[in-house]
Subunit: 437 residues, 2 copies
């Protein structure tokens, strides 16, 4: 019996074997008058038996029906993977940067080619992908997870914060975390609150294109992240990603103020309501645009407790409170991304009151993302305040969700949690005193 190649049917396996195609091969497939070039992907469970799946240069997968008049040939064989390379030599006088890998596109070279479940690029492969990074610091690394960031939750944030503190307390001058971009902003916010006044730079970095694509932003983002750690002089939690479409400028965002604003562009990450903390060019020249805390000596501590009974809801016209009563009455913390200055309809105000009376903490933010909530301008807002909710100025809804989990778990009672929510702790909101009246 023939062995199936990448789960393909026996006839397709036979065809692929006859032309020497294997995992990672680049094929030219001609069928029904069209031709496609791309990397061979495994059989997809939901595709027919006669369909070959290839990943095009654009990153999209296509399934092509192979019939009588189809032709398939191998354009390129995959490069053999070099194993057991010697570890990079330690250079005297360079700072020590610890690289923690968590998964995501930035580490998904192999996954991207094969369509397998898990991102899987070793930390050393990751470090080797950016030689300039090796020149700027001694890089040591560890892989903590290998997951796509949409599957991260508070437990991952807790483990990650503890690992960062450990690296710093073991002598790292900075920590770079490679991370999927989907929920990078949420993780950055979580680390910001958990690590508090961390004395060193902690920089989360990702990629919108995997490292196996010529257009990958992974190496340049990694390099910029390490350079900021080494030369930025700032402590705290940051996100470093492309500032523009080219490979020549990078933005350092404050961890509590950053949001993924595009599904695919390399400059998807943007600071909301503040300027980035710093900008870097391709040679590592740096323009610091924010004050921030300076690097200090001292230990890092991770306060990682989180109240998981917390939800985030977006308000929309016609929102029916009866459908959300279950979620709201069962949750200790509720963040609502209201309309405009932080509004909801009259029916939802009654549910907010019920939740507050029940002991929940309800926090209003704005789905506008830009600007400040203010519940004092209109009657709707004043009614929401009377119902017991609070508003958190210009804090992002996503950051408010993460902070609320943290505040509820680290405060002794709801009133103290409320006070924490209203106080800027990690650059996440403007100081209330700076609001013009």
């Amino acid at each position: 019996m023939k062995v199936s190649i990448m789960s393909y049917s026996s006839s397709l396996s036979e065809l692929l074997e006859s032309i020497g195609a294997k995992e990672g091969s680049k094929l030219l497939v001609e069928s029904e008058g069209r031709s496609f070039a791309g990397i061979l992907m495994p059989h997809h469970d939901f595709s027919g038996e006669d369909i070959i799946v290839i990943k095009l240069k654009s990153g999209y997968n296509v399934g092509i029906r192979i019939g009588q008049d189809s032709a398939v040939k191998v354009l390129e064989h995959p490069e053999p993977k070099v194993k057991n390379k010697a570890p990079a030599e330690r250079k005297e006088g360079l700072p020590n940067i610890s690289l923690i890998a968590t998964g995501g596109t930035i580490a998904s070279n192999v996954e991207y080619r094969t369509g397998a479940v898990r991102p899987a690029l070793s930390v050393s492969d990751l470090a080797d992908s950016a030689p300039e990074m090796r020149g700027a610091a001694n890089i040591s690394g560890r892989a903590l997870f290998s997951i796509f960031s949409e599957n991260m939750n508070a437990e991952h944030w807790q483990e990650l914060a503890a690992a960062v503190a450990e690296e710093i307390n073991n002598g790292a001058d900075g920590v770079v975390i490679s991370h999927g971009t989907d929920t990078m902003g949420y993780t950055a916010a979580a680390l910001s609150f958990m690590l508090g006044d961390v004395p060193k730079p902690v920089v989360i970095v990702g990629a919108q294109r995997s490292t196996d694509r010529p257009s990958s932003d992974a190496p340049s983002n990694l390099t910029a992240a390490v350079r900021f750690c080494v030369k930025g002089g700032k402590a705290g939690v940051f996100v470093v990603m492309h500032e523009a479409l080219g490979d020549d400028s990078f933005a350092v965002h404050i961890g509590t103020r950053v949001r993924k604003m595009h599904t695919s562009r390399r400059d998807a990450f943007q600071s909301i309501n503040v300027r980035p903390a710093a900008l870097l060019d391709k040679d590592g020249n740096m323009k610091l645009t924010s004050e921030g805390r300076n690097i200090a000596s001292g230990k890092a501590a991770a306060r990682t407790k989180m109240e998981r009974s917390t939800i985030l809801l977006q308000y929309y016209p016609g929102m029916d409170p009866s459908l959300f009563e279950n979620a709201m009455m069962k949750s200790k913390g509720i963040v609502i991304a209201g309309s405009g200055l932080g509004h909801v309809n009259e029916e939802m105000i009654r549910l907010i009151k019920k939740a507050c009376d029940n002991g929940s903490l309800v926090v209003m933010t704005s789905q506008c993302l830009g600007g400040r909530t203010n519940l004092n301008v209109y009657k709707t807002g004043r009614d929401i305040l009377s119902a017991g909710a609070i508003a958190v100025l210009d804090m992002l809804p996503e950051t408010a969700y993460v902070k609320l989990m943290w505040a509820l778990a680290n405060a002794d009672n709801v009133d103290e949690a409320k006070r924490l929510m209203m106080t800027p702790l990690a650059g996440e909101m403007s100081d209330r005193r700076s609001v013009d009246v």
Copy 2:
């Protein structure tokens, strides 16, 4: 017994009466070493008996404790309202524009001063606030609602769409709708689907500052809206608001592609994933930047059926499906603003499958707002597709919510609704064929 002034306590009412203060008076209040100037607001139920509330020039309300050493005096009395002004004369040769008022800040002159529940500026007051508008067209008007837009729902959209069709079928060359900004994007999307290939321009317009403030953007937005109706030559549903902070440029947004992106700035409204349909300067010079449909003859028809059993959820890390099972299993339509390309965690994928198996239509969008969803790139996406959900390219989550209500109500079955969701009907998404593969 003395009559209470604006619900104030008898002692404060006495004080206010003694100085001749009344609704709308501008006061100077000196108390505890500070002084405040602003419009007298009614007593607030949750304020103490000795607190006077005034609205500062900035729009914020402050409560000031009145004690022994306080001084209150009237700076300005409110201008008497002129009633029964003669209607503007009809000018031959000018196009007929119908103005429909629905409420919101743009029509909240009186409300803003008194803190009363309802925005309340007559249509004729509204038209008179922008004399340039009167010069460009014959304006006739009707007030349909007088509510803040956060309280609008599908029934309001239905009534509004029917009113617009009626105005056009009665001879209007264009319809301008004044609307609160909070949910203006949702209403614009609803009218876009309900009015289909409407032969005339329908322009929704709002204001971030009420008409009683010198900095109000209401008159200039109204004027730009009328000018676009008269000179734009384009049919369809649009939103016209400031393009920049000054009073000298205006953007005409496609109704299905616009989103309020700032709580307070005059340039809060932005086109997402497309350029605005047109830009206007302060003199009415116009730059059309999009193709669009041309004005035509023919009647307008409103297909206003909406499936109210539709919800919008934002995905976030740690989202617990057990809290949303009730809402999802009871809803015929579910839009999820997923992370990145349209992702959720593995637990939520199981709930999506359950909802789809139950006959619901689940539509994936992206909380990034910018860019296209694509469920073919990663395993997470492919699992979501297998669960039965669909993704709608670069459609905004809010637009997808409105379109899903419309599609479910106007299709014969879920499959047809799915097909409608995947087909561009009113500029709300890129054509699938234009996606690069």
